[in-house]
Symmetry: C2
Subunit: 287 residues, 2 copies
Amino acid sequence: MLYIIGLGLADEKDISVKGLDIVRKAERVYLEAYTAILLVDKEQLEAYYGRPVILADREMVESQSDEILKDAETKDVAFLVVGDPFSATTHTDLALRCRQNDPPIPTRTLPNASILTAVGATGLSLYNFGQTVSMVFFTDSWKPSSFYDRIAENASLGLHTLVLLDIKVKEPDLQAMARGKIIYEKPRFMTVAQCASQMLEVEDERQQGVCGKEALAVGVARLGSEDQQIVAGTLEELSTADLGRPLHSLVLCGKKMHEMEWEFVREFAVDQGTFDQVWKSVYGAQK
Amino acid sequence: MLYIIGLGLADEKDISVKGLDIVRKAERVYLEAYTAILLVDKEQLEAYYGRPVILADREMVESQSDEILKDAETKDVAFLVVGDPFSATTHTDLALRCRQNDPPIPTRTLPNASILTAVGATGLSLYNFGQTVSMVFFTDSWKPSSFYDRIAENASLGLHTLVLLDIKVKEPDLQAMARGKIIYEKPRFMTVAQCASQMLEVEDERQQGVCGKEALAVGVARLGSEDQQIVAGTLEELSTADLGRPLHSLVLCGKKMHEMEWEFVREFAVDQGTFDQVWKSVYGAQK
């Protein structure tokens, strides 16, 4: 059996009791380590679970899945995913491969907390979110802006948008590769400030008023952990906010933001005066 | 400290290890018991947690929250919520009351699995969902249909809609009340079939082609448990599908449904021929 087990968001104790039982008995334990990270390192997981944990990077999952699935017809393999397994496309890939295996490998998935719902800690209602988008690191020559179209769609319905921020772990250094060496770049995690700046940059080009300087947004960091941080403000304010260690995410507020949501979120405002004024003139005025 | 702890979806072992530690040490333990249910009863939770669990019905949470919050400035109180705390509005209410208490009561929330992400078990991508809607039991005289407008909005963007289904626990029997007695009705949980039928009924009235007989949908039951069930088909097919015990939910598929989603979902089809034919003519054709 392949068990795909969500680890939740913060540390080794966010796994469910049921998940822990399975990990402790499994033949092999893998940790998906390229779409999200926990706030603790592999050694801490291994010490708590009492089992060696094999890091599965993108290359292993996409090109060497046979190794992960080896003998899973008869033995138990645990594949750990930070957050909730269904929030990552890895899950669907692996589950499809198990189905198509001959004989098919039985799978079971254990859901857990996801950033998609933990973002409710902001006070914004999960019922008022539209589609989720991803933001990648811009380079000088590559600034993909399809996120803007998705946000515009959500905004047209007055809905909030959760923006998931890029992480780069184990990216090959292209200059070193050109010299025939395999060196990996230092891991990078996009911050709320970087995300807000990129949104403002694209707004400057597109000019549709979707994510301008006065748009209200909420930045979150390390949700689910004891030192989680939530900061609300205009995109301009957030473009200089420092929320500390990763992981960060951002929510762009929709115009349908209800008074009860506002009452909760304003407590997190960089500047409550500005926040209230923008909300009252632009958001509250929609009702 | 008030700890608001998500229990996950199925049974007593879906709580996180961290959550279990808190429950076992808390002064009092409440279970929110009116917006969702676990698949096991209170006694099983009490036996596993080793603690008495006080059922908190809507009346207690809304009118007697002082009792729940009593001494929480200095003692630890655990408030358990089925699924993820942020997916229920109860969380925001209680957290606001703690903030406004004098002195404020510190709170901490432990996220867990939610139907909002566990629905990814269907193979539908969580990135392609629009706003979530609720479906209540229709009566002869009360058939609220605002869900139709929300679904139409999602559909206009090609997005899926998760429909959460009504549950009625501890509803007073109005006829008995009129006779001066307080009797509660038997608990009721809406099924996928009932939801599909109500959607068809409203489509018949509104005629905007949002949720007609040929619309593709996926019904889910007991997600996260070992006997979870997933059934895909047209709304007409689902209006007679039997998915067994509660809880049920339904997803109405959006027209942007990707080929990879289709490939996964079709395995759950009531009738794969019909499913493929509708997908190819109506959904796949959008690309």
